[in-house]
């Protein structure tokens, strides 16, 4: 199978006072067309940085230490800015947590969609095509929506418009960073359904970055679990949720209030806190919080590759 997007050995650091913060460390993953990859982890695990690196849109102060991001074979990290701009939107598109920030408040939705798609392909900027696209993402009365300003739409509608904008030029890869976090549950469910439908009808690869395990379970085919800048485990969604191998994955799944059924019982927690990314230990970063640690865990953990694209970064998973 040919992957649409391949990330290989990617490391990203931030310059901070007194050193460098290792936000993404040696991450390798790939997404196929028609596949939804979920990247899950807690705040500060580097998932948003990874998403930004995938479209080469890193904030100032970030620096790529090593690795590549290949979109249909082209390394995005090596492209000159002009070539990158023409790829963004057309081949790879992004949806943010708060779509309000992605729109210009003084222009109508129609005008912005037309500007955006017209810049790449004027033939696709006609009102009819734009309205058809809005209808396709479930916006009622799409023609009138084109006349509206961003602030006149609800959060859920704005997120739909943002998705429509991202899909206008039929990208090969769609990256969504916390696309449902700002929404109510009812709207969240609708956006999840929309994204699920779209990846089949648009033949594109989707990457979802979220901290919400429910969203991952509902939407994704494969999952990469991140901890302290590393992908500690990846594999098929069913395997990850029903047979987690990494102790962190297990702990994370166990403490989700939505999993624990017993009412008013105490919820399991993960003792300790996330390690300091400016001063990482030599061994496994999860060691201080791990309940099943071995003496070997003071050494860097091996990446153990298992069948069906599954991999675990843990001494315990070794042969």
């Amino acid at each position: 199978m040919n992957a649409a997007l391949v990330v290989e050995n990617l490391s990203v650091v931030y310059r901070v006072a007194g050193g460098s913060l290792q936000a993404v460390r040696d991450v390798s993953l790939s997404v196929q067309r028609k596949e939804v990859l979920g990247i899950v982890g807690e705040s500060g695990c580097g998932k948003s940085t990874l998403a930004a690196a995938m479209i080469n849109l890193l904030p100032a102060g970030a620096q790529i230490r090593q690795g590549s991001v290949r979109l249909n074979g082209t390394d995005l990290l090596q492209l000159p800015p002009a070539a990158l701009r023409s790829l963004r939107g057309r081949s790879i598109a992004m949806v943010f947590q708060d779509p309000m920030t992605a729109f210009n408040p003084v222009l109508t939705i129609g005008r912005q969609l037309a500007d955006f798609s017209g810049a790449h392909d004027p033939a696709r900027a006609t009102p009819d095509l734009l309205a058809a696209m809005l209808a396709r993402v479930g916006i009622p009365d799409a023609a009138r929506c084109l006349q509206r300003y961003p602030h006149e739409l609800s959060g859920g509608m704005r997120q739909r418009v943002a998705i429509a904008a991202a899909l206008l030029l039929q990208p090969d890869v769609l990256i969504a960073d916390e696309p449902t976090t700002a929404l109510d549950v009812t709207m969240e469910a609708q956006i999840i359904h929309l994204l699920r439908d779209l990846r089949t009808s648009f033949d594109c690869a989707v990457v979802i970055v979220t901290h919400h395990l429910g969203v991952i379970a509902e939407l994704c085919d494969r999952v990469a679990v991140m901890y302290a800048g590393e992908v500690v485990e990846q594999g098929a969604v069913d395997d990850i949720f029903h047979a987690p191998l990494h102790p962190y994955t297990r702990a994370l799944l166990a403490c989700d209030p939505a999993v624990v059924d017993a009412a008013s019982g105490r919820l399991p927690t993960i003792a300790g806190s996330v390690p300091d990314l400016t001063d990482l230990p030599q061994g496994c970063p999860f060691l201080p919080r791990c309940t099943v640690a071995l003496p070997a865990c003071h050494q860097p953990p091996p990446r153990v590759h298992l069948p069906e694209g599954r991999s675990v970064l843990c001494h315990r998973a070794g042969p």
Binding site: L21, C45, S48, T49
Partner: protein
């Protein structure tokens, strides 16, 4: 898009002084302002001559070891006059913007957090005051009260208060809708506690910056009005007076205007730089988070 920093505890904020020293512009401002403040405070001890003592025989002297900056048309020592001038310029400007700042702060807080009718009344007053053209307003007040240091201070206070009060009012209005003010009200905090404990410390930063940026304007205004003989009365060694008197003998002794102009320019730059530096440093959420 930003890298999520939620659960990374941040290092403690550096002190304002230390942060200012790390910023080249702030540092330059701090050095210049301290120099002028030093000159102003120590004028009686560091000025080599009496600034108003005449020595007509020694008039229009160029800089020399005896008179480092030369003398003016009445033979007064120019360096001494400039040093004493700093005392006048800074004295007037700091006093006036200080008084204006205090009034502006209180009026702005009251307008922003007080009852709606009071806000309406105060805004009307501020707006009508600032709709008067500043120069004509200043001239009118000087005509009525006569020129002099006190009049000058009064004019500057009257002109600055509405601007300061409006800045504070806007800040107060937006903060009074913030979560933490709501939280204080939910705990039962009264208006006095909210205004003095929770609003004042958060609105005063921008005011300090504005005041700092205003001091050069006031120094210029003082110099300008004194130049027109509407400010500080001669023979007081105001920078404006020195310039005005030097201008009459520009051809014969050009050094007077040049040397009296330099401190004016440097003081203006100093306060502006300091204001800019403070703006970078005082933003409570700015420091220490630059890499996000």
């Amino acid at each position: 898009m930003s890298f999520a920093t939620d659960d990374i505890a941040l290092p403690a904020r550096r002190g304002i002084g230390r942060a200012l020293l790390g910023d080249p512009m702030g540092l330059a401002g701090l050095v210049l302002v301290s120099t002028f403040l030093g000159m102003a405070l120590l004028a009686p001890w560091i000025a080599p001559y009496d600034p108003i003592a005449l020595d007509v025989k020694a008039k229009f002297q160029f800089p020399s070891p005896a008179h480092w900056a030369g003398t003016d048309h009445l033979g007064r020592d120019l360096l001494s006059r400039i040093i004493w001038g700093a005392r006048l310029a800074l004295g007037i400007s700091i006093t006036s913007v200080g008084i204006a700042g205090a009034f502006g702060l209180v009026l702005g807080l009251v307008a922003g957090y007080g009852p709606r009718w009071l806000d309406g009344a105060l805004v009307l007053v501020f707006d009508s005051m600032s709709s008067l053209p500043m120069i004509f307003f200043a001239l009118a007040v000087i005509t009525v009260l006569g020129p002099g240091t006190a009049t000058l201070i009064l004019v500057i206070v009257l002109v600055s208060v509405p601007a300061y009060a409006r800045l504070i009012r806007t800040q107060t209005l937006s903060l009074s809708r913030s979560d933490y003010i709501l939280a204080e009200r939910a705990m039962g905090a009264g208006p006095v506690r909210i205004i003095f404990h929770h609003l004042l410390p958060n609105v005063v930063g921008p005011l300090v910056i504005l005041i700092c940026m205003d001091i050069p304007v006031v120094i210029m205004l003082e110099a300008g009005l004194s130049y027109l003989n509407l400010g500080v009365k001669p023979p007081s060694p105001s920078w404006g007076n020195i310039l005005a008197e030097g201008y009459t003998s520009l051809r014969r002794a050009p050094h007077i205007v040049i040397l009296a102009g330099v401190p004016l320019v440097l003081a203006t730059l100093g306060f502006t730089f300091l204001g800019e530096g403070l703006r970078d440093v005082l933003d409570p959420r700015g420091a220490g988070r630059r890499w996000t």
